[in-house]
Amino acid sequence: MSIAEAREHRASPGTTDRSGSRPKRHYGTHIFLLVMAAVWLVPLGWSVFTALRPVASTNEHGYFSVAGDFNFDNFVQAWTQGGFATYFWNSVLITVPAVLLTLFLASLMAFAVSRVNWKFNITLLIMFTAGNLLPPQVLAAPLFEMAKHFQVPYSFSDSGNMLNTYIIVIAVDTAFQMGFCTFVLSNYMKALSADLTEAALVDGAGIWRQYREIILPLCRPAFAALGTLEVIFIYNDYFWPLLFIQSGNRLPITTAINNLQGQFLNNYNLLAAGAVITVIPTLVIYLLLQRQFVAGLTLGSSKG
């Protein structure tokens, strides 16, 4: 499916609403969907409910009550004492460079394999796509040992090697996500007319100008979709920082919540507040960029 079709798909809920006014009755369907939606909201709803109640209230009235205060104290406490400001910043330090690098490198590769025909382009594309489908744990031991045995000056990294640095996390995230992005972008670029670059060729434009001035601007919708998706993917990545980062205060937020479980032991209100804080950025991105996100997901998985 191309972006255009994805757009069509996104436009269709409008038609759904219009024809919804037709006297068509699906009582059974409605009841089922209502029940399922309610069930779906329970875990998240329970977290928000718990997070809004001070631990004193729940101790006094129990968790299964609506008595007592409701306020944002737990959020404030989690933010200040739980170190959430640091964790968030760490997430930004990893996510932003990793997403930009991934998109840049993937666009180079995608251009080369989709706009220029040469012997190994399909082989390379298969290699990139396959790499992205592996379970990351398959690569864990060698990557960990490579990072550990890669000596660098102590002025560069306080571990004396690449462990405990953001660079290794960014590099591995980039390498791992590049395959997926290359695959999606190359499909997108393949769908662009060959005449576009043909005309540029006649004008004497080199490969770089074809890439930079013709193909890249046309790929903006694909970049928007993939960028949104990758921000969420890398922000949500739990495993690579877990493997490489050893100091607790350098962890990004998704990996750090694991430690909060121990830190906030028996204060479920605080843990719930921490969980809700962690969800907020993804929900904001989802609400603002839902179209891009959905387009990205369907783009990546619609070519069969």
Binding site: D17, E198, G206, Y238, N258, S302
Partner: protein
């Protein structure tokens, strides 16, 4: 790189008959020396990163699985033959439970989560009032990391203060179940939490797939007197073949990748053994047994190659023939 760069031809020149010879003819001159350098860099840099960070480690995993090593000094790596594989199959208690749990996970996603996602998609694809709101609700968990899903469901599943025990009327009584802690039920509790996310993902993909099905197919089936159910299973579902393949692959790969949620709960022990978690247990901590961890990783790799090869041959098969 230079020898391959000589064969670069623009895509419109792609013809099945004698492509190489023609490429060496007039068309090549379109690429200047500078273009070749640029193209080599465009291909070379990402390829080097991909090789160094993904393919080399994968091969090293295979290599290390035949050695004995504590991860400290490179000089200490000793050949071990197939000893690590014998060890995990015969003397490593969590191995077979982990294999079973991975299988169970796959079956649960394939038989419950995926059909549920498909059902939601089919229902929401009808002209239902509030379809978009439903879609947003079912899709919301897909935005969350699996690690966070572990925490959120922990709050729901706890023994004394969890909502589930309260709803069941067992909270505070000896019958209360610690859903994530009790090794006889926790794998089921975790799979339900995973379903919460997986079904929404499947729903989204199938909604896109259903939109792509030609409506005239459905009309033709209706004219032929097919019921709605018949139309779906005989006409619509087969027409979504490309999406079906993607869903099959995603379901298998997700079940092999199941790691974050069990690792957050208890590091993949006590009823929650998974292959991916066992790999990591052998790499971190005091007794680093890289060889054993790598052997487990290779088992995971070999199983993963089945859906990966299936998917790649489906996706790239046609292009290769062309």
């Amino acid at each position: 790189m230079s020898s391959t760069a000589r064969e670069l031809i623009p895509p419109e020149a792609r013809e099945p008959a004698a492509p190489v010879r023609r490429a060496k003819g007039g068309r090549v001159r379109r690429l200047s020396r500078r273009d070749k350098v640029v193209l080599s860099l465009m291909v070379g840099i990402p390829t080097l990163i991909e090789l160094a960070m993904v393919w080399l480690p994968m091969l090293m995993s295979v290599g290390l699985s035949f050695t004995r090593w504590n991860g400290l000094d490179l000089a200490d790596i000793r050949p071990a033959g197939t000893a690590n594989y014998q060890f995990i199959a015969q003397d490593y208690p969590p191995f077979w439970p982990a294999v079973q749990h991975n299988m169970l996970w796959l079956l649960f996603l394939a038989l419950i989560a995926t059909p549920l996602g498909l059902l939601l998609a089919v229902l929401l694809d009808q002209n239902i009032r509030g379809s978009r709101i439903y879609q947003s609700i079912f899709f919301a968990p897909v935005m969350l990391s699996l690690a966070l899903i572990g925490i959120i469901w922990q709050l729901f599943y706890q023994r004394d203060n969890g909502l589930l025990n309260f709803l069941l009327g067992t909270a505070g009584t000896p019958q209360a179940v610690d859903w994530f802690g009790d090794s006889s039920v926790n794998i089921w509790a975790v799979m339900i939490a995973a379903t919460w996310r997986h079904a929404g993902y499947v729903m989204l993909l199938y909604l896109a797939g259903l939109k792509g099905v030609d409506p005239s197919l459905k009309e033709a089936a209706a004219i032929d007197g097919a019921s709605a159910v018949q139309t779906f299973f005989r006409v619509v579902f087969p027409a979504m073949r490309p999406i079906n393949i993607v869903i099959v692959v995603i379901t298998i790969i997700e079940s092999l990748r199941a790691f974050d949620v069990v690792y957050v709960i208890n590091r993949g022990t006590n009823g929650l053994e998974m292959l991916s978690a066992l790999v990591i247990q052998n790499l971190v901590g005091e007794g680093q047994v890289i060889g054993v961890g790598s052997a487990l990783a290779v088992v995971l790799l070999v199983i993963s190659l089945v859906p990966i090869v299936f998917y790649l041959s489906r996706t790239f098969g046609k292009e290769n023939q062309a």
